[in-house]
Amino acid sequence: MSSPRDVVITGIGLVSSLGEGPDAHWQKLAQPGPQPVLEATRFAPYTVHPLPEIDWNLQIAKRGDQRQMETWQRLGTYAAGLALDDAGIKGNDELCATMDMVVAAGGGERDEAVDAAILAASESRNDRDVLLNEKLTTELRPTLFLAQLSNLLAGNISIVHKVTGSSRTFMGEEGAGVAAVETAAARIRSGQSTHILVGGAFQTEHSDMLLGYELAGYLHRGPWKPVWQRQGAEGGGVVTGSGGAFLVLEQREHATSRGRKIYAELGPVVSGRARRSRGELDAEIAALLKQAALPNGKLLALSGASGAHAATSAEKAALDANPAIAARGFSTLTGHMKEAQFPFAVALAALAVDRKAAYPVFDAAAETPFEGVPAAVLATAIGYHQFEGMALVNAA
């Protein structure tokens, strides 16, 4: 059944509040009753899943490079390095120089102190545009701009890890992660590329990153609850997490010819844009499930559901409508990682296929056990606000 142009996953780089690397994530998540790591005070009334302690030197050797980035870019560059290491590509000049890259990115961190000072001064000034010029020209650190630019995560990956075949950055929340994986897979299947680094990172521990959700009231407030149990609770249902996920996708023939371990084969990757204000989301999710070519029999699903009330209840209803599907809402344990959400879902799906075991329920009240070996696993990302995607990950 396998074909030389199959898309296979040969490298996984993960960082979340649970730790770093595929092994650490598997160990935490495969134990019955896994527990989330929560930070409930720093951003109260919001809870977040914070970054674990990271020794940046392990993947970003030069202090000079580290200084040029803020945490978001460091996190992505770090996770990308983990994936390259895992695939045996890091440090291989020839493979790095011919490797393509698609990064799903938002923006980097603003200088909160400068912003706060400008806002404080604005209380007593009417010439706010002049105030802006005064403060920004004198107080902004010149290179901070580069730490904020969306495409500079990819730029830093090129500089630090020498991935220089090509470099593209997709923007647009979860949809960016979906499109990045979908486009990368299409390039490999069509022979346009042999190996691609794809993924993203999200650093939620910054007030602007929370504001990006809260301007529409999307964040959950009050006591933490699992992702499926936030309907009716205070706030909008999303609990965010810092993290990153990068995958090395490779043409099967390319991977086997260099003798690499294959985690899983990436099957259909499908995406959509429901016009949600017209009530199209339910039909869109159903259509994607159909296009994903689900196999017969029991199916494990790694759901990227954010907790956002409308999107999460639509996804839950669609998954529940198929009794063969046993869903795992991993945001319960990692929080929502925006652009990194879909690559993270695909990575967790690939791990389950590779380890020939399903994850135990992450939420005993809302999820059902899965017995046996998962030969295929579904990964989903139904955007908290817009855009939808799924992929089927098959045994290698």
Partner: protein, 425 residues
């Protein structure tokens, strides 16, 4: 019967619609008339106060309803205008385009006007600025401000307006973004995923903060006194680029589909090439090897030799570094011939439209071939002796142009080149 596949057996990608907006005006007609008469769109900044600013000129688009409404609304309007012009010219239904959308647009942030208004709408509590913004945010009843902070929202609205299919892709490769949007469309058609695609580059993000950020990196010209003379690519006294806004859109279509429906073929998107640079966040590798590789990759993708390129639409930003590096790249690829090849920079007149530049300049490249007129590089009064190029100085030139190479290079090591042809080969 025309050959419908290229030298690699892939569907040939034709252009059947072009749209453009710059500081010179809305639409191809006005832009082309201004561009070929050597007119500059660079003018003094009036959108915000210029107190404390070292750079007080730009190529902002100041004549649209959204021009004073912030980066997201203006970027949307620019993209919509160019998209509508392109789809209409292609003879397609402008509310039901029926193919995917690839949008190059700037990263979005909450505008300062909104930040000030949210912050000052709830004074008097003992809290930090961040806490106050979050508290005010969650009580908002409208989604308008939220939408301006979502990276996918402009494309989502465009998809509604133009009836594009599927999940729209919003991308950034910095100053190469517009070219990347076109490349993604070309690749989708070549893979057989669609018969047509809409590629748009749009940038309406010339805010005070954006200007200050580039200024702090010493990237901008400070020749404020005569604004229209500030952008002077390849000149000895060039001192930086001029921040600008604009949009460009192309309807890309498989030649087979375009011919079958009787569409006018405006040109062919023959090749795309890219190569990332690992040297530095803002500077190019001194030997220009990534730019050279990108040019060569585009030529190879198009199946053309160096001798078969008639004209180069240069990235030509007017920064000391870019123009020197670009000259090195071109002279390496084209050898001695580069001295007699017309190489012009549209940015001398429209400034640097950032995320839109690659798309705007692809539009102008296609028009150059159709009209057999090469727009000039204006302000070329003081040539850089180290850069020996035929820049089509100061006056347009009538010339048969069968093929154009258009370069786009950006921060973060982004290098993307497009090869376009007048006719299917």
């Amino acid at each position: 019967m025309a050959n419908l596949n290229d030298h690699m057996g892939r569907p040939i990608v034709a252009v059947t619609g072009i749209g453009v907006v710059t500081s010179l005006g809305v639409g191809k007609t006005d832009n082309w008339a201004a561009l070929t008469s050597g007119k500059s769109g660079i003018h003094p900044i009036t959108r915000f106060p210029i107190d404390q600013l070292n750079t007080r000129i730009s190529g902002m688009v100041d004549f649209l309803p959204s021009s004073s409404k912030g980066a997201s609304p203006l970027t949307y309007e620019l993209a919509e205008l160019a998209g509508l012009e392109a789809v209409t010219e292609a003879g397609l239904d402008s509310s039901d385009f029926g193919g995917p959308l690839f949008l190059a647009s700037p990263p979005v942030e909450l505008d300062w006007a909104e930040r000030f208004s949210l912050y000052n709408s709830d004074k008097g509590k003992d809290d930090t600025a961040a806490e106050r913004l979050l508290r005010v945010a969650r009580s908002l009843k409208e989604l308008d401000i939220f939408e301006t902070t979502q990276f996918g929202s402009i494309a989502d609205r465009l998809a509604d307006r133009l009836g594009t299919r599927g999940l729209p892709i919003t991308l950034s490769t910095a100053c190469a973004s517009g070219a990347t949007a076109i490349q993604l469309g070309v690749e989708a058609i070549r893979r057989g995923e669609c018969d047509r695609a809409l590629s748009i580059g749009a940038d309406g993000s010339a805010t005070a903060e954006a200007l200050i950020r580039f200024s702090l990196l010493s990237a901008l010209s400070t020749h404020n006194d005569i604004p229209e003379k500030a952008s002077k690519p390849f000149s000895r006294d060039r001192d930086g680029f001029v921040l600008a806004e604009g949009s460009g859109a192309l309807v890309l279509e498989s030649l087979e589909t375009a011919l079958a429906r009787g569409a006018t073929i405006l040109g062919v998107l023959g090749g795309c090439g890219e190569k990332a640079d690992d040297f530095h966040r803002t500077r190019s590798k001194p030997d220009a090897s990534p730019a050279i590789a990108a040019v060569r990759a585009a030529l190879a993708d198009a199946g053309l030799s160096e001798d078969e390129i008639d004209h180069v639409n240069a990235h030509g930003t007017s920064t000391p570094e870019n123009d020197k590096m670009e000259h090195l790249a071109l002279s390496t690829v084209f050898g001695e011939r580069i001295g007699s090849m017309p190489v012009s920079s549209n940015k001398s007149m429209i400034g640097h439209t950032l995320s839109a530049a690659g798309a705007v300049e692809a539009a102008f490249s296609l028009m150059t071939m159709r009209e057999s007129v090469i727009p000039p590089t204006i302000n070329y009064d003081n040539p850089d002796p180290a850069i020996v190029l035929d820049v089509v100085p100061n006056k347009k030139r009538n010339a048969e142009v069968r093929t154009v190479l258009s370069n786009s290079f950006g921060f973060g090591g982004q290098n993307t080149c497009l090869v376009m042809a007048r006719e299917p080969v």
